[in-house]
C-alpha cells in the first residue's frame, strides 16, 4: 500500500520560499497568481494491508516525525 502525505505550513506562518516562487512566476509573465505556499510531499511504501491500521500508523508517523505540528498540517491519502 502506498501512503501519500502532504505536509503544508499552517496559515499565518510566514513562507518566504512561497513568496519567492510567486515573484518568480510573476516575472516570467504568469498573471493572476495571488498566493503561493510551498510544502512537502512524502511517499511511503508500507507493508500493512489493513487500511485502518495503515492510516493509524501513518498518522502516528506524521505526529511524531514527518510534520512539526507547531507550524505544519498534514494530509494523508492511501492508495492500493
Amino acid at each position: 500500500m502506498k501512503a501519500k502525505v502532504h505536509v503544508t505550513l499552517k496559515t499565518g506562518v510566514l513562507d518566504p520560499q512561497g513568496k519567492a516562487i510567486g515573484h518568480a512566476l510573476a516575472s516570467l509573465g504568469f498573471q493572476g497568481v495571488n498566493d503561493v505556499r510551498q510544502g512537502k510531499y512524502i511517499e511511503l511504501e508500507i507493508a500493512e494491508t489493513d487500511r485502518a491500521k495503515a492510516e493509524a500508523a501513518v498518522r502516528q508517523m506524521c505526529e511524531r516525525l514527518l510534520a512539526n505540528t507547531v507550524i505544519e498540517n498534514y494530509a494523508i491519502e492511501l492508495v492500493g
Binding site: A20, H23, A24, S27
Partner: protein, 737 residues
C-alpha cells in the same frame, strides 16, 4: 575465461578519434566490448588523460626540499614542519556548473574535498575562483546565484570553512562559466596515503554512497565544447550529498588511523573505472571486479553503467588481508556501505564481471602507457605594444576611483562570501576580503596563508607575461599577510586546444608560470586542466588560476590591510612607471575592451624585483615594522589604498610622488611588484629598504577623519565610497526577484 563479446563497431566512438580507436584495436588484438570501449573513452578523454597538455605541464618545476609529493597523486603534499604536511589541489567543474549551477558547483566542491582526504588529510579550508559572463547577459545572474548557493550548500554542510576566493565577470565567459574549487588539508607527514595498489590477492573495497546512473560520460562532456543542444545534457550532471560526504570524511579518517589501508583513491571523474585502473596501474598489478557486489540504488544497471557512473561520495581502497572487518565496523558506525567488490591480481588486466559474464578483460598498463599524447600545433600571440599614458584620457581621479571600486571585478564580493561559513572549526584568523586567508594550525602556533588568483585579460594579451603575473600575484598576496610562500596548485582553464591560437595561449602561460615558479622558489605540486571552454567557437579569456599556500611560523604575527590609526605614514614599496596597458582603468573607463587581446601589452613582471621587494616586506612584517600591508594589483595604487581605508574605516591623504609620471598613470597604473604599507616610523623603514636595494617612498598619511584626499583635496568620503563599493553586487543580484 571467455573473451567479452565485442560491441558492434559503434557509430558513436564515445569521444575517441578514429586514430585512438585504432589504438584500442591494436592493444586488445580484437574489437572491444561496450564496457571496454567505455573504459578507453573515459580514460583517454582530455579531462582524464591530459593528452593535449601533458607535454607542456612537464615543464613546470615541481621539486623542492619541502615538497613531499608533487603532481601525479590525488593532491600535492608539502612539508610544513612540526611533523605536519599540507595537502592541497584545485579542480574545475566548469561544464557541469554551466548546465546545472547548484549541483555542478556543489559536486565540484565534493570532488576536490575527496582528492584531499583520500590522502589522509583532514580538510581545513576551501577556496574558489569563479568567472561569470557579462552582468548584462541573461544567464549570468542565475549562474551566480546557483553556483554560490551550491558551493555554500555543500561546503557549509561538510563543515569545512570557505575562507577565500575571487570572482570576475567578463563577456568571454557568457557561454562558459568557470568554477574552480580548492581544498587544503592537514595530515601527519609520516602518515600520507597514496593510491598505488600493492599485494596481489588483497581485497578491493568499495566505500560510501550507492551507485546510480549519475553523470555517465561526465568526463567526456568536460572534454567537449557546448553547442545549442547542451541543455539536453542535464541528466549527465551529478547530484551531491554533503551529509554523506561528511560521514565519509569522518569514517575514512578513523580508518586511516588504523593500519588497515594499503591504498585508497576517491571515485571522481570516470568513477569506478579511473580509480580501479589508476590504483592497479600504479602498482603494476591487475584487478578483478565483481560488479554484482557494488551497492546500487537503481535496478538493472549494466556493467558499462556501473563502471562509468559518476555517483558522488564514493571511495575505492585496497585493504590488508583480514582487515575487512576493521573497516566494516567503522563504516557501520557511520551507516555507510563498505563492501569488498574485488581483488588485486598478478595478471595486469582489468577484469570486470556482471551477472556471471565477463564484460571486460583488458591490459591496464597500455591504458596509461599508450594513452594518446598530442603535440598540438600552436601559434604565439602577436606582440603587443605598451600603452602610452598620454594616449589615455585622464579622468577626474575621484570619479574614476568611485567607478572602479563599483565595477563588477572590484566591487565588494561580501554578498558571495557571506553565504559561506568561513568560521567553522574556530581557526580562521583572516577571513575573506583580505589579501589572503589565514588559518591557524591547532597545537603548533603556526598558520597557513591561502589565496587564489589570476588576471585573464593579461593572459589574453600576452600569455607568458600573464602566466608569470598570476604566479607572482599569489606570491605577493601570501607575502602581504606575512607568510612565506611554499607551493602552488594550478587550474588551467582554456578554450579549444585544437585551435593553434588557443594552444599558443596555453604554451605561453606555462612558460610564464615556469619562469615565475623557478625565480620565486615556488613549485607546482598539483593541478588540473580544463579545456574546450568555448561555445560556438567563442573562447574564454585564458585563465591559469593559481592557488597559493604559504606558511606563517607564528600565526599571531600576521597582519591585514586595514588602516589602523591616524597619522601613520603610507609607504609605497616598488617602482611605478605608470603602466596602463590592460589596466582596469582603461577597460572600465575608456571602453578599450571591445576587441579582446587586440590592444596593449600587460604590465611586465620583473621576477627579481618581485623577490627583492617581497622578501623585504615579509621581513618588515616579521619585525613588526609595519602596521598594515596590501599588495597593489587590479585598479592600481589609488584603488589599493582605498581598499585599505574601507577595511580600516579610516581616511588618508595621498601626495602623488612621481613628477615624470602623469597623475592618472601613477594613480591607476597596474605596475607589478608593489605593496602599500603603513608605519609609525617611516624613516626607519625607508632606511631598511635602501639597504635592501628596494624602492620605497612615503606617499601619504592616514587621517583621523574619514575622508580620502589627494594633496589635501577631497576625493570622496569613506561613506560614499563604501556605498558604491558594497552596493553593486547586492543590487545586481536583487534585480529580477
Amino acid at each position: 575465461m571467455a573473451t567479452p563479446a565485442p560491441a558492434a563497431r559503434p557509430n558513436d566512438l564515445m569521444g575517441l578519434s578514429e586514430e585512438e580507436y585504432g589504438r584500442v584495436l591494436a592493444i586488445l588484438g580484437r574489437a572491444p566490448s561496450l564496457t571496454e570501449l567505455g573504459v578507453f573513452s573515459v580514460m583517454w578523454s582530455e579531462h582524464c588523460s591530459y593528452k593535449s597538455s601533458k607535454k607542456w605541464l612537464r615543464q613546470l618545476p615541481t621539486k623542492r626540499p619541502w615538497v613531499i609529493h608533487g603532481p601525479g597523486e590525488n593532491a600535492g603534499v608539502v612539508d610544513i614542519g612540526d611533523g605536519l604536511a599540507a595537502i592541497f589541489k584545485m579542480e574545475s567543474h566548469n561544464h557541469p556548473s554551466f548546465i546545472e549551477p547548484y549541483q555542478g558547483a556543489a559536486t565540484g566542491v565534493g570532488g576536490i574535498l575527496r582528492d584531499v582526504f583520500t590522502m589522509g588529510a583532514r580538510p581545513i579550508a576551501n577556496l574558489n575562483a569563479l568567472r561569470f559572463g557579462d552582468p548584462s547577459h541573461p544567464k549570468t545572474r542565475h549562474l551566480v546565484a546557483g553556483v554560490v548557493a551550491g558551493i555554500g550548500g555543500y561546503g557549509n554542510c561538510v563543515g569545512v570553512p570557505t575562507v577565500g576566493g575571487e570572482t570576475n565577470f567578463h563577456a568571454s565567459y557568457n557561454g562558459n562559466c568557470l568554477v574552480n574549487a580548492m581544498t587544503v588539508g592537514l595530515a601527519p607527514a609520516d602518515r600520507i596515503f597514496y593510491s598505488k595498489a600493492a599485494g596481489p590477492g588483497n581485497p578491493v573495497v568499495y566505500l560510501g554512497a550507492k551507485t546510480g546512473r549519475d553523470g555517465i560520460h561526465g568526463a567526456t562532456m568536460a572534454s567537449a565544447e557546448f553547442d545549442q543542444n547542451s541543455e539536453e545534457k542535464r541528466p549527465t550532471v551529478q547530484v551531491g550529498d554533503p551529509f554523506t560526504e561528511k560521514l565519509l570524511i569522518e569514517a575514512c579518517l578513523e580508518l586511516m588511523a588504523t593500519d588497515a589501508i594499503v591504498a585508497i583513491q576517491d571515485m571522481g571523474a570516470a568513477g569506478l573505472t579511473s580509480s580501479s585502473v589508476e590504483m592497479a596501474g600504479k602498482g603494476g598489478l591487475g584487478i578483478e571486479l565483481d560488479l554484482d557486489k557494488v551497492p546500487m540504488r537503481e535496478p538493472g544497471m549494466t556493467a558499462y553503467e556501473i563502471m562509468l557512473s559518476e555517483s558522488q561520495e564514493r571511495m575505492l581502497m585496497v585493504l590488508k588481508p583480514d582487515r575487512e572487518d576493521v573497516a566494516r565496523k567503522i563504516f557501520d558506525k557511520y551507516e555507510l556501505d563498505c563492501i569488498t567488490i574485488g581483488r588485486l591480481t598478478t595478471t595486469g588486466n582489468l577484469v570486470v564481471k556482471r551477472g556471471g559474464k565477463v564484460e571486460a578483460d583488458m591490459p591496464i598498463q597500455p591504458i596509461s602507457a599508450q594513452a594518446p599524447e598530442y603535440d598540438r600545433p600552436w601559434t604565439a600571440a602577436p606582440r603587443k605594444q605598451p600603452l602610452a599614458p598620454a594616449s589615455v584620457p585622464a579622468h577626474d581621479p575621484a570619479a574614476a576611483l568611485k567607478a572602479l571600486m563599483a565595477c563588477p571585478d572590484l566591487a565588494s564580493k561580501s554578498w558571495i562570501w557571506g553565504q559561506y561559513d568561513y568560521l567553522v572549526r574556530g581557526h580562521t584568523v583572516q577571513q575573506p576580503g583580505g589579501d589572503a586567508a589565514v588559518v591557524r594550525l591547532p597545537g603548533s602556533g603556526k598558520g597557513l596563508a591561502l589565496v587564489v588568483d589570476c588576471t585573464p585579460r593579461y593572459c589574453a594579451a600576452d600569455p607568458e607575461a600573464g602566466g608569470a603575473q598570476a604566479v607572482a600575484e599569489t606570491w605577493r598576496n601570501l607575502t602581504a599577510v606575512g607568510a612565506t610562500p611554499l607551493a602552488i596548485t594550478d587550474n588551467m582553464n582554456f578554450g579549444n586546444p585544437e585551435r593553434p591560437e588557443i594552444m599558443g595561449q596555453f604554451v605561453g602561460c606555462i612558460a610564464g608560470m615556469r619562469a615565475a615558479c623557478t625565480a620565486l622558489d615556488y613549485p607546482v605540486v598539483s593541478g588540473n586542466v580544463s579545456l574546450y571552454n568555448e561555445t560556438q567557437g567563442q573562447a574564454i579569456l585564458p585563465a591559469p588560476v593559481i592557488g597559493g599556500v604559504g606558511l606563517l611560523d607564528d600565526v599571531t604575527r600576521t597582519i591585514d590591510l586595514s588602516l589602523k590609526g591616524p597619522d601613520e605614514a603610507i609607504v609605497l614599496i616598488g617602482d611605478t612607471a605608470g603602466w596602463l596597458g590592460q589596466s582596469l582603468y582603461v577597460r572600465e573607463l575608456c571602453g578599450r575592451d571591445t576587441v579582446p587581446a587586440a590592444d596593449s601589452a600587460p604590465p611586465p613582471v620583473d621576477l627579481a624585483a618581485e623577490k627583492r621587494n617581497g622578501d623585504f616586506v615579509r621581513a618588515a612584517i616579521a619585525r613588526r615594522q609595519v602596521t598594515a600591508c596590501h599588495d597593489v594589483s587590479d585598479g592600481g595604487l589609488l584603488v589599493a589604498v582605498a581598499e585599505m581605508a574601507l577595511a580600516g574605516g579610516r581616511g588618508f591623504d595621498l601626495k602623488p610622488a612621481a613628477a615624470d609620471v602623469p597623475l592618472h598613470a601613477w594613480l591607476f597604473g597596474e605596475d607589478q611588484a608593489r605593496y602599500v604599507v603603513t608605519t609609525s616610523d617611516a624613516a626607519a623603514l625607508l632606511k631598511a629598504a635602501s639597504t635592501a636595494g628596494v624602492p620605497a617612498r612615503v606617499i601619504g598619511r592616514t587621517l583621523a577623519s574619514r575622508d580620502l584626499t589627494l594633496d589635501g583635496r577631497l576625493l570622496i568620503s569613506l561613506h560614499d565610497l563604501r556605498v558604491a563599493h558594497e552596493g553593486w553586487l547586492p543590487a545586481y543580484m536583487a534585480q529580477g526577484l
